[in-house]
Symmetry: C2
């Protein structure tokens, strides 16, 4: 299948999702301001995604163009779930501040809890607690449950704030639940199990 | 025009470029290993681009899948040309190493001068000299000439190695040279002027 056909299907899939479901383009963009403006236009206007994930390496002008769209969200990479997160994100500067904490601090000068969330990997449960201290009001997008091995109860213990403040994501744990003809049932079951686990935790935490 | 039509045109444009011209997908990707593998497949197999730019924030497993394709290149962001480069790339750790230098050092454990280049902005001429010290054999992709204000002679003074080692890029300086009906002539003239300036410098440096 050609890429343009696949993209057409992506667009159709997005259009098929009811408008009250929050959509995330996990695209990890970030470019000079002029280019980021075009990316923002594509994700927020053409695809009408509610949010897009952004990589912080290029700094302020690579991120801020995405804030020009009302009711749309930037989800900035802070502490990622993969092994490579250890290469640069924990680099400590002369003031004893890790890079991911600097990303949290600087980016709060650019966005607000109403238009800026952070990616915080479920595989770094204690890191989630650190991020929560520095960003008490922001929502976190938490990947790494499922295929990557993160624990939902750890994530909840370290990451909840008074509004819950967590969007927990499982991708491969659901979409790769089966590669047989029972795919739909297996994916549905995996999604439901995660939802029930989350429900139980929310109840325990009095939500 | 729909995005899928625009992508079809992008593919046709790439196919129209003669195969002996080096192509760069300036896409600034970088995701967990599993996803980076799919991006690599798209850029190197479907689009048949010779290279793709990669953002380093997510570390090793976000970069290395792109090295599995023979005769293809990773162009890793080191020191970018935009103002936001100042936010994180110059952060100095306890050993007095700036983040962009750590990116250069670590990434040379993953790739070689035969499959790894670096993005080094023309607006940071002295930084180019620093990068050249740390990566004497690697090619640099140098954006920021033209619209962003970088100087070609500064770039050459700081960035040349014994093989030249520079791919100098101007995008907006050429494609936005005119928005009138003389667009083709104006773009051609801008490209030729840059080429002639580079020729003169190459001659002065005895290439």
């Amino acid at each position: 299948m050609s890429r343009s056909k696949r993209l057409g299907i992506a667009k159709k899939t997005l259009d098929y999702i009811p408008k009250n479901i929050f959509t995330i383009a996990d695209a990890k963009r970030g470019d000079i301001g002029n280019t980021s403006s075009y990316y923002a236009d594509t994700f927020f206007k053409y695809l009408d995604s509610d949010s897009v994930t952004i990589a912080p390496y290029m700094g302020e002008d690579s991120v801020t163009p995405f804030f020009s769209y009302p009711n749309k969200w930037v989800i900035l990479l802070a502490l990622t779930s993969n092994h490579g997160a250890l290469d640069f994100q924990f680099t400590t500067d002369k003031n004893n501040e890790e890079l991911y904490k600097k990303v949290l601090r600087k980016s709060q000068e650019w966005g607000t809890p109403e238009n800026l969330m952070y990616v915080v990997g479920a595989t770094r449960a204690e890191g989630i607690g650190e991020v929560r201290k520095l960003a008490p009001e922001h929502f976190f997008l938490v990947p790494g449950i499922g295929a990557q091995g993160g624990s939902l109860s750890d994530v909840a213990n370290y990451g909840f704030n008074s509004d819950c403040g967590l969007l927990v994501n499982s991708s491969r744990g659901i979409i790769y639940a089966s590669n047989q003809s029972d795919f739909a049932e297996a994916a549905g079951k995996a999604a439901q199990e995660l939802q029930q686990e989350m429900s139980k935790i929310l109840l325990e935490k009095n939500f």
